[in-house]
């Protein structure tokens, strides 16, 4: 259901969308059932002139089942949804697949710095590529990121990946994603980080292998080694 609102572009985005649909169907069933019963009762029992005994006695006997049976059914639905949620959560946030590429994502007020390995494929070597407010990745490669913050809380949010992770100063938080579609998409900061939080945007470029290699070549010649003085605020 979510993919009609926003394309999905990572290996686990489809599972999150699927979980969303399942939850929507389950809660939608209860929601519609309850609202229909609710509205029906309102219209059915409009001001009546029946004898008081019948009004007083309804709801005293077996009608309690109408509450107790849904009560147990809701428990069953909850267990089912918990099972689904935990499964998808573990895949996205706990199980860490073998990484093809390791990158570093550094957040600060109010810019994103992305450090990725250069042609040698190893992070923290002299040919690392540093980009600001744009992240170039190759489609169908598994990326592992190390997320850091230099000042306050930020949040590395990539809606098309269905990925979100707070960056906490003093901690290095690892996570992963595997892009599955090419294209250009938003990267957001999704945690209030001060006066320019609203413009802390970056752009994600998911590229085919050949395009990505070509980009690496051009940028390797022009890229400056990473230092804080190279940081400029977006826009």
């Amino acid at each position: 259901m979510l993919e009609y609102f926003l394309p999905n572009a990572s290996s686990y985005a489809g599972d999150i969308d699927h979980l969303f649909s399942i939850i929507t169907w389950v809660v939608g069933f209860w929601f519609i059932l309850t609202q229909v019963a609710f509205l029906w009762l309102i219209f059915r029992f409009q001001k009546r002139r029946e004898d008081q005994t019948s009004i007083y006695m309804t709801g005293e006997g077996h009608e309690k089942h109408w509450i107790h049976v849904p009560h147990w059914l809701i428990i069953v639905c909850d267990v089912f949804l918990i099972f689904g949620a935990v499964q998808v959560w573990n895949m996205v946030k706990i199980d860490m697949p073998e990484a093809d590429v390791k990158i570093r994502v550094i957040s600060q007020q109010w810019a994103w710095t992305f450090v990725q390995p250069g042609p040698d494929g190893v992070l923290d070597t002299a040919d690392d590529i540093t980009t600001i407010d744009e992240l170039h990745v190759e489609v169908n490669k598994t990326y592992q990121y190390e997320l850091e913050s230099k000042d306050v809380l930020h949040d590395f949010s990539v809606p098309v990946f269905r990925l979100k992770q707070d960056a906490v100063p003093g901690r290095i938080i690892t996570g992963w994603f595997k892009p599955t579609k090419t294209g250009d998409f938003d990267i957001q900061c999704a945690e209030m980080c001060g006066i320019a939080h609203g413009i802390m945007a970056a752009r994600l470029h998911i590229e085919e292998a050949a395009v990505h290699q070509a980009w690496m070549k051009t940028v390797a010649q022009t890229s400056l080694p990473f230092s804080p003085s190279n940081l400029v605020i977006n826009q």
């Binding site: 979980l19 979100k164 945690e191 939080h197």
Partner: protein
């Protein structure tokens, strides 16, 4: 019984009667009118930042251009005001003060002076809050959750005075409500009319008492956290910094209070809806004890769900699974309560008077907030939805039904008792439909925006190409126009409220033919509430249409068999 030395004439001097009152009804009115005033301010803030979202960069009529600093400050204070200075004073303090002594049949609160102090501290907190807007740097803009290190360090938040003043205002407000909470619980436990057993207490009183217990049990960590954060801001301690402390600690302290707070606001509104639904369907409450026990269960469970606000905040991801379980389980008692309220309608004789419309709307709208909570409580979908407009829409579907719809239900229902006159039904219905329809028009588009990936607290979406599409912008404009329309529909209410207060049709003692004790005294009740005939209680509060009671379909709690 409380205050047996109380004289039943009461003070006649204007100052001692209205400015420094000890009478619980006058203190309730102080809270009520202050809450309504703050609601107008909080609503105006919503108008200003919604206009900025719909028409970015343009001058907002009555406000001016919204700068990023303005925007952050507006959203922060809109949230703080609506929760701490509208929902709590009106639902807990005003209703609690007004209803508890009247509904349990005593002459006043057991600690009237603490009660007066509570409002005075509350008023002081508002003065401090307003002061925070007028200092160099402007009002605090770090969101109502006030996460450090942003909130703790002026180098980051750029509001060196606004942030501490805001925090001080919150702390004072909490002190005020602790004083009030002590009073509510003690009064209900000690001063009930003779004969009123635990299961004869009207549900709204139970709900306010349980809300007060939740508040007192949850707020300790927050007030400790607030003092530590204040020290971080003012004297350079390092509780919530990486140099010695931990920023995440604040989040735990905050949400350990923050989630029970949701139920603190919800429960009184549920109690209001229960009183009204039983009265206007002339029917006994379906499952009094079940509702009471599920409420206690909800309250207890609400202490074990807080980290669902922090799924992606950097907590150990294995911990999220535990909180997914507790969070989804809370659907069971809440669902049970709502089902019982709906089942009360079954076989009743329903009259759709204005208070009843509001009470029913509370159930219908709250259901939307309830079911969308499952999407967010499920950790995996919350990865995507955390801090999006889906969350914004979800919690407005829980807070608006509680704080606004519940308040209107209570006002229309108890207005005759408070002021001795009836409100106009036609204006009430215009107000009802205008508010409900446009409320949905504001927030349903926000679900769609959240599903499209729109994140919160962003003052201008033109910086995000995926969000800067005409379709999404149209949804934003639609929501903003709906907000303006909903605000216009509050004019009939304000007119109705203030004109009916003086010119409305005279209400008798018991215009709705209701059972609870507040309806046996005069409208408005005199000082001391029941004159010289303090009531005794012979039965539960919901004995409507009882077959043994001839000639009338209600049986007040104080009438002997």
């Amino acid at each position: 019984m409380s205050g047996s030395d109380h004289d039943h004439h009461g003070p006649t001097n204007f100052w001692s009667k209205y400015v420094f009152p000890l009478d619980h009804k006058i203190i309730a009115m102080q809270y009520l009118f202050t809450g309504i005033f703050m609601a107008l301010i909080g609503g105006f803030m919503a108008y200003a930042f919604r206009m900025q979202l719909a028409f970015p960069g343009q001058e907002v009529p009555l406000f001016g251009v919204v700068t990023p600093q303005n925007y952050n400050s507006l959203i922060t204070n809109h949230g703080s005001i609506m929760i701490f200075w509208v929902a709590m004073p009106v639902l807990v303090a005003a209703l609690g003060n007004y209803l508890i002594p009247l509904m349990i049949g005593c002459d006043d609160m057991v600690f009237p002076r603490i009660n007066r102090l509570s409002y005075q501290v509350f008023l002081l907190s508002i003065v401090v809050l307003f002061a925070s807007y007028c200092v160099p740097g402007g009002g605090f803009g770090g969101a109502w959750t006030s996460y450090p290190p942003l909130a703790g360090n002026a180098d980051y938040n750029l509001t060196p005075l606004g942030a501490p003043l805001w925090l001080l205002a919150i702390a004072l407000e909490i002190v005020a409500f602790l004083l009030g909470g002590i009073n509510f619980i003690t009064t209900v436990m000690n001063s009930r009319a003779p004969g009123m057993k635990m299961y004869d207490i009207p549900m709204v009183v139970w709900m306010i008492v349980i809300a007060s217990i939740l508040f007192m049990a949850s707020v300790g960590p927050l007030i400790a956290g607030a003092v530590m954060l204040l020290f971080d801001q003012l004297i350079g301690t390092k509780f919530f910094t990486t140099a010695g402390g931990d920023p995440m600690l604040w989040q735990h302290l905050f949400w350990f209070f923050g989630h029970p707070e949701v139920y603190i606001v919800l429960l009184p509104a549920m109690g209001v809806a229960i009183e009204i639904i039983t009265t206007f369907s002339r029917k006994k409450l379906f499952g009094y004890k079940e509702i009471l026990f599920t409420t206690f269960f909800t309250g207890i469970l609400s202490f074990f769900v807080w980290a669902h606000h922090q799924f992606v905040a950097g907590i150990d991801p294995r911990m999220a699974n535990i909180f997914t379980v507790t969070t989804l389980l809370i659907s069971i008692p809440i669902g049970h309560m709502l089902f019982a309220m709906i089942a009360t309608l079954y076989g009743g004789s329903i009259q759709l008077k204005t208070p009843m419309l509001w009470a029913l709307a509370f159930i219908g709208e709250f259901l939307i907030g309830g079911v969308t909570g499952i999407h967010l409580g499920a950790s995996a979908t919350d990865i995507f939805f955390h801090d999006t407009y889906f969350v914004v829409a979800h919690f407005h579907y829980t807070f608006f039904p509680s704080a606004i719809i519940g308040t209107f239900a209570a006002l229309y229902y108890w207005f005759p008792k408070m002021f001795g006159r009836m409100m106009d039904e036609t204006l009430g219905k215009i107000h009802f439909w205008g508010t409900i329809i446009f409320f949905n028009c504001i927030f349903i588009p926000l679900f769609a925006l959240g599903m499209s990936g729109q994140h919160r607290r962003i003052y201008d979406y033109r910086n995000f190409p995926d969000l800067n599409t005409p379709e999404l912008q149209n949804l934003r404009i639609f929501a903003t126009i709906s907000l303006v329309c909903m605000m216009i529909f509050q004019i009939p209410f304000l007119y109705n409220f203030f004109v009916s207060m003086f010119k409305g049709e005279k209400a008798g003692k018991n215009p709705w033919n209701s059972n609870t004790l507040e309806w046996i005294t005069d409208s408005p009740p005199p000082h001391g509430n029941f004159g010289h005939h303090m009531p005794e209680v012979y039965r539960g509060p919901y004995e409507y249409s009882h077959p043994d009671k001839k000639n009338q379909d209600y049986w007040p709690q104080n009438e002997p068999n």
